[in-house]
């Protein structure tokens, strides 16, 4: 397995550096296309239809030995996945980090719709929490917060590190609940479960009763 030190020591050779950039472009993009397509449960035909390409083009795009993948095709495939593609010049340390941390999971990117939905949901949850009156019973806020964290564990923030950070910072500020509590479990284990109907009715919209 390539590690930071082994890759970096090889990159000290100018010729190897040059070759590595060529080969990384040719081999990593097909790897990512294949991983993203399979993660979505799509066939090559499905991706071709989304990208307005033929299945043969997708098959070649996923073949690291093909080697003639054009930027135009890559951009069409990006459109098919509804994700962005950026090509930019980077220092070798960044290339090394990218390769070292490469995995099928790290290459999976959410579509714009998925990101938009996750952002809207997190904003909705945040608004719910912020609107809680200050005299709200402790457990009410706890359930809401647990739901936020539960959303986190549901991979809502899997592709959205900034929102994940925001959710975690909410947790740190309030210091209310242990991390990774399921929303439902938190509710069942909380005083809310034994609360009166009038108390339960004060639970924010969307919280399981």
């Amino acid at each position: 397995v390539i590690t930071f030190s082994s890759t970096w020591s090889k990159l000290r050779s100018k010729k190897y550096r040059e070759a590595f950039v060529f080969q990384a472009f040719r081999r990593i993009i097909p790897f990512q296309i294949s991983a993203m397509r399979r993660k979505r449960g799509w066939s090559q035909q499905d991706l071709a239809a989304q990208a307005n390409l033929t299945q043969g083009v997708i098959s070649r795009a996923e073949d690291p030995d093909y080697g003639n993948l054009t930027v135009n095709t890559i951009c069409r495939i990006a459109a098919g996945f509804d994700v962005a593609f950026i090509g930019k010049f980077v220092p070798f340390s960044e290339l090394d980090r990218w390769i070292t941390n490469l995995s099928e999971e790290s290459g999976i990117v959410p579509s714009f719709q998925e990101e938009n939905k996750a952002l809207a949901e997190s904003e909705r949850m945040r608004a719910l929490f912020v609107q809680q009156p200050t005299d709200q019973p402790f457990w009410d806020r706890r359930v809401v917060l647990a739901m936020i964290i539960d959303r986190d564990s549901e991979a809502q923030y899997q592709h959205n590190p900034p929102e994940r950070e925001r959710a975690l910072s909410s947790q740190i500020q309030l210091e209310l609940v242990p991390q990774r509590l399921s929303g439902i479990d938190a509710y069942r284990n909380s005083p809310a479960n034994n609360a009166s109907i009038s108390q339960r009715s004060r639970l924010p919209e969307g919280v399981a009763k």
Binding site: V1, I2, Q23
Partner: protein
């Protein structure tokens, strides 16, 4: 953590066949091989792709048991990294590599498959050692 681990076989004479081969290759071949190993180590299911596109083939006849990892480098040719694929351990042990040549038919270096097969037999008899691939 990778899905697959790659090892280099070290002979009783303290030779590492895959590193010996790697050191003689052009930088483009070296880089292609390194990235092939990296992408395969991070690919959970090697058989998820259509059979004609798979990068690994387990030989069944003369060199039964040897698995070849196939890769092509534009302008250089088609290469085979040879080793023992152990899916139950999720690892692969390298015994060497070669480029396939059509005219005249053969491999560069010569007899690469025979040599890899012999090393595999030695390994299975408990001779030599393995270490993490670098």
């Amino acid at each position: 953590m990778p899905y697959w681990w790659f090892y280099d076989y070290i002979t009783d004479q303290h030779r590492c066949p895959i590193l010996d081969w790697w050191g003689l290759q052009d930088a483009y071949v070296q880089a292609a091989f390194d990235l092939l190993v990296k992408t395969l180590s991070e690919t959970e299911d090697w058989e998820a792709v259509e059979s004609s596109k798979r990068k690994h083939r387990v030989l069944t006849k003369q060199h039964a048991g040897i698995c070849e990892l196939v890769f092509e480098v534009k302008g250089f040719g088609k290469y085979r990294a040879l080793g023992l694929w152990r899916p139950h351990r999720r690892d692969f042990v390298f015994f060497g590599a070669c480029r396939k040549r059509m005219k005249p038919f053969g491999t560069v270096p010569p007899h690469a498959f025979e040599r890899a097969y012999g090393l595999m037999r030695q390994f299975q008899e408990g001779k030599g050692d393995i270490r993490d691939h670098v």
